[in-house]
Amino acid sequence: MAKQYETVIGLEVHVELATRTKIFCSCSTEFGGAPNAHTCPVCTGMPGALPVLNRQVVEYAMAIGLAVNCTITRESKFDRKNYFYPDNPQNYQISQLYLPIARDGYVEIETGGGRKRIRIHEMHMEEDAGKLIHDEWDDVSLVDYNRSGVPLVEIVSEPDMRSAEEVIAYLETLRTIIQYLGASDCKLQEGSMRVDVNLSVREAGTDKPGTRTEMKNLNSFKAIARAIEAERRRQIELLEEGRQVMQETRRWDDNKETSYAMRSKEDARDYRYFPDPDLVPVMIDEEWLERVKADQPELRSEKLVRYKEEFDIPLSDAEMITSSKRMADIFEETAVLCGNPKKAANWLMVETMRLLKEHGMEPGDIAFSPANLAKLIRLADAGTINSSVAKNVFEKVFAEDIDPEQYVEEMGLRTVSDEGALRRVISRVIEDTPQAVSDYRGGKEKALGALVGRTMKAMEGKADPALVGKILKEML
């Protein structure tokens, strides 16, 4: 009988923090820009330059640490990690090894297998490296230090995950938490969230840990899932053949759906960490900790409870709305402004989601203001416009954030409530479409629909279709 294997996975997640400036200098963290435009002596390792810590980095790190249930280290220090590579201008990275900012936390995930707690070993602050651009013409690489010194936190989980599904659930949970804190946008494609997967396999039922590999270069959830499956299989095959898994770092190639070992004799992996003498300890007292706790925004799990209580929204709807912080923010404001939380939820879940999908956008990209959505809802609720007009107006709100009240007036989209005027239009429709009239009179109920349609068209949509039907029946 074939042996059963268990996959053991731990993650190292790097998250770029949403500060305006870099971790140790006053350069902008703005993405893009000409090569080396956002650089200075500090983030390019010029001789004599010295780092000074950005306070906001510590605040974000504390906020994330607290949100993932970590203990915040009261005296935290920075260490140098020494290794030579050109994207690292000092040839050491300022990181934290001995006293990281946060330790011993967890997040709860939910998968088909139920709820599970994934423990977090530690989280530390560090600086990002620059970027290497490979120049195919000259067979050289070009170094751009714009990203050098952008603040990161690295969140190191315990090896508590057993499947790609759990990994994705953990990452989604982590991402939502961090997005809610406003500490990062966590975009895998753009690299503001980067995931290294530590994976080993062992025979089911044993406790003996297998040798693990570290997988890098995973740029999407799909790539992560594929890499986990491929690496699991690769390791099992090795073991089945009686060979050993090497402890090594591997690079995932998502196009080829395979990985290869990143090894060189020059890579000793002996980082000679020692406390950075250029930086002083970060001491966090009760007062500072309490202030960060108090400033902590409401997280998703808290919102889910509140939405039920405050807005009487079903859990499944609340989950959909809160899957993005942006969506949740718009919902809450709209609900208050229009006084109709259910309608607000509906507009977001149906029309907004449809348009986002159509335009290939993320909820984070929503650009319209809650005030304008609220106005639209009020117009519809009051019967000032009918539902199909409302949908058309919403497309304008979605695309250009127009003021619906003004737009409805300017475009003359109000529903006509003057019954006399309506009757005049209907008599003309009856006169102009004798066929439909006779069909209806001959018992074809469906013909009424055609007549309503004609009337609506004649009214340029600005009528209540129910009222039109009622009057038609009367007049026929």
Binding site: T19, R20, T21, C25, S26, C27, S28, G33, A34, P35, N36, A37, H38, T39, C40, T44, V52, L53, N54, R55, Q56, V58, E75, K77, N82, F84, Y85, P86, L132, I133, H134, D135, D138, D139, V140, S141, L142, V143, D144, Y145, K265, E266, A268, D270, R272, P275, P277, L279, V280, P281, V282, M283
Partner: protein
């Protein structure tokens, strides 16, 4: 403790520190380092049980900057001393083959 610095050790330190010593230089480095380490071993004569390692001589802590952008485009200065540059970047031998 003699012969703590073998050829392999010197080779390994060379990889860590990106220095490559030739024959006589290497022998001299081995001897120098051996001598220094023996001397440094005098520290073992001192009981440091229960002593906290001291990085900074004085207790300074919580030195921060505010998160305000102050630097503009300094690429020209950054590149001013580059041994080789191209298209605004520093040129290095190809890093991934």
């Amino acid at each position: 403790m003699a012969d703590r610095i073998s050829d392999e050790t010197i080779e390994y330190i060379g990889i860590l520190s990106k220095l490559e010593l030739g024959g006589t230089e290497k022998e001299a480095a081995k001897a120098d380092m051996e001598q220094m380490l023996e001397y440094i071993d005098t520290l073992n004569g001192l009981d440091t049980e229960g002593i906290e390692p001291m990085t900074h001589a004085f207790p300074i802590y919580n030195v921060f900057r505010n998160d305000v952008v102050e630097n503009g485009d300094e690429s020209a200065r950054t590149l001013a001393n580059a041994p080789v540059q191209k298209e605004g970047g520093f040129v290095v031998p190809k890093t991934i083959g």
